[in-house]
Symmetry: C4
Amino acid sequence: MMSCLRSVAYLRVWIIMLSLSRNFCGMGGVTVAKEGCMFLEFAPAVGPRQYDWSKKKIIALSVVEVGTLLSLGPDESCEFTHDPFMGKSEAGKIMKVLKVGNLQDTGGYFFNLSVTDRIADVDESFSIPITKGEFSVMQSIFNFILPYLMGWHAYMDSTKLNESGHFKSGGPSIAKRPDLEWGR
Amino acid sequence: MMSCLRSVAYLRVWIIMLSLSRNFCGMGGVTVAKEGCMFLEFAPAVGPRQYDWSKKKIIALSVVEVGTLLSLGPDESCEFTHDPFMGKSEAGKIMKVLKVGNLQDTGGYFFNLSVTDRIADVDESFSIPITKGEFSVMQSIFNFILPYLMGWHAYMDSTKLNESGHFKSGGPSIAKRPDLEWGR
Amino acid sequence: MMSCLRSVAYLRVWIIMLSLSRNFCGMGGVTVAKEGCMFLEFAPAVGPRQYDWSKKKIIALSVVEVGTLLSLGPDESCEFTHDPFMGKSEAGKIMKVLKVGNLQDTGGYFFNLSVTDRIADVDESFSIPITKGEFSVMQSIFNFILPYLMGWHAYMDSTKLNESGHFKSGGPSIAKRPDLEWGR
Amino acid sequence: MMSCLRSVAYLRVWIIMLSLSRNFCGMGGVTVAKEGCMFLEFAPAVGPRQYDWSKKKIIALSVVEVGTLLSLGPDESCEFTHDPFMGKSEAGKIMKVLKVGNLQDTGGYFFNLSVTDRIADVDESFSIPITKGEFSVMQSIFNFILPYLMGWHAYMDSTKLNESGHFKSGGPSIAKRPDLEWGR
């Protein structure tokens, strides 16, 4: 978890890890049932270092959105629009827009989240300035976490050297298929 | 595994891990019998979010080709030509060409795979646009996976601190060889 | 630990890891009681390769300060001011200022630490030149260590595939909350 | 291990890991008795894909030299001079010089090793061109390996969450020392 406290709001970064199961026979016997995601959680300030967590808003960034933030250049900005009910009857009733861009003077970044909730009849928006050092920490975490969110670590664990001292990935069926080119 | 679904085709990225054995006495007692590789698997679209997996084509990128993609600059492109039967009697009958370059307007990339198969008398080509965020995720995975594809992780595991609290790599034979410079 | 010996002074880089406990129920059952930090320890030279460790001074960089050094561009500098007694009655009695910037000619960096201690009535300052290669090693370590200082590794460990072959992070309460967007 | 085969010579990259012991009480009870290093091993070609390993020459790069290669910019070069007998009576009898720089046209790099051995009365030099993709793989490995060569992984392992669910690094003696700033 990473926290950025500001006079106007609080930004907390955390993740939900992926969901794995073991019934797949291609990638080391491990399959990803559902990729993980990165949560950005915003809460408004109600006083010095006091935040109203009952009014917090959350946006869940996908792996590709995390990759977009990871590759964000110093003069670039990006915007993600989410509809939590997309494809359901309540579609469009809640819209979340996250904008991230750089602050010209300081080398830092701003994180803006706008949430329009027509069910609860609430419009809320947060704008949090992030220092260059904080953004660097975020990018370091994003780079560390991405392979885990996608399950590559589980696959890696399945390739540890076994006790007999031999490990063979894929097995004979793969070695015999020239279209896979691995037998070269 | 990483998947990019497009209206024209599907691109799936996965790997075959390396093959290890334990009968080597230089690198922590572990040797790499065969390096792993990175698979790019393309399938053509036959309808909205429907793909014909019977027509899928696979190209297996070597460690150095993965390194080339990892270091691909924003204005650069690269091309890999593979012959799965290289050095065999069927040489030249199947040719695979992968081109990767950047899309001027969006900051994204294209992945083009052409497969000429004179055995099955099939010519197939795929062209998939990849967003900048997706390419960033790929590069993050490539950087994470490269040491594993080459077996460095197995060597690292062999250097865990043992229970007696001492670990000495290489042993006395190495310490006594001044040409290795390690005894300095 | 990393050491840079110079004719004028000694710089040693090490860390105190974070403090963890297991009584939290959001991030994989692990919470960070206190983040770790990165120590820069300076000792003055009293002769060739001899340093007076009784006069050593330490500055403890926070995660965000480490991130600032990690993202320091070739023409940039940064400065951190610390008061170890901040918020206590002795506030202001000890002030530590670390400045890091680049050396024009060599591509290297300088690390300056000034400590004003009104309790012991001592003013001490250190200035150590760091080569470009040493700074590159530091940045490699900083990038490696940051997720550990913040506890992300403990969270990752808690998501290892269990023996029944299934892992589900968060549990049903999370899947049923559309505002978390994970059920999409 | 990483191998680059060329028509003129062979370059093999491998490492000797560090030497650890457990009798230190600052960094998680682990100390580095001797840092690891990165070996570059050159052998001359004597025919197509045949190399004379009896004439191989090795240079052992220190952690900081590896860091220098890691941060080598596209228009930069570097040079390391080693004397395996430095400080001994045979000093100067064997000199090894490694030069690394970029090849203007291809974006690749050259690795030149010259060894002057007055004991065996041998002068040998190797020059191997490395592609941009290969150098990218090397840098990926260098970045992966650096923390291990310096022992940071052993320290990280010592901070795994213990079974009682609590971990406290440093202990009470550290928390009570305000000069360490960790009690803030």
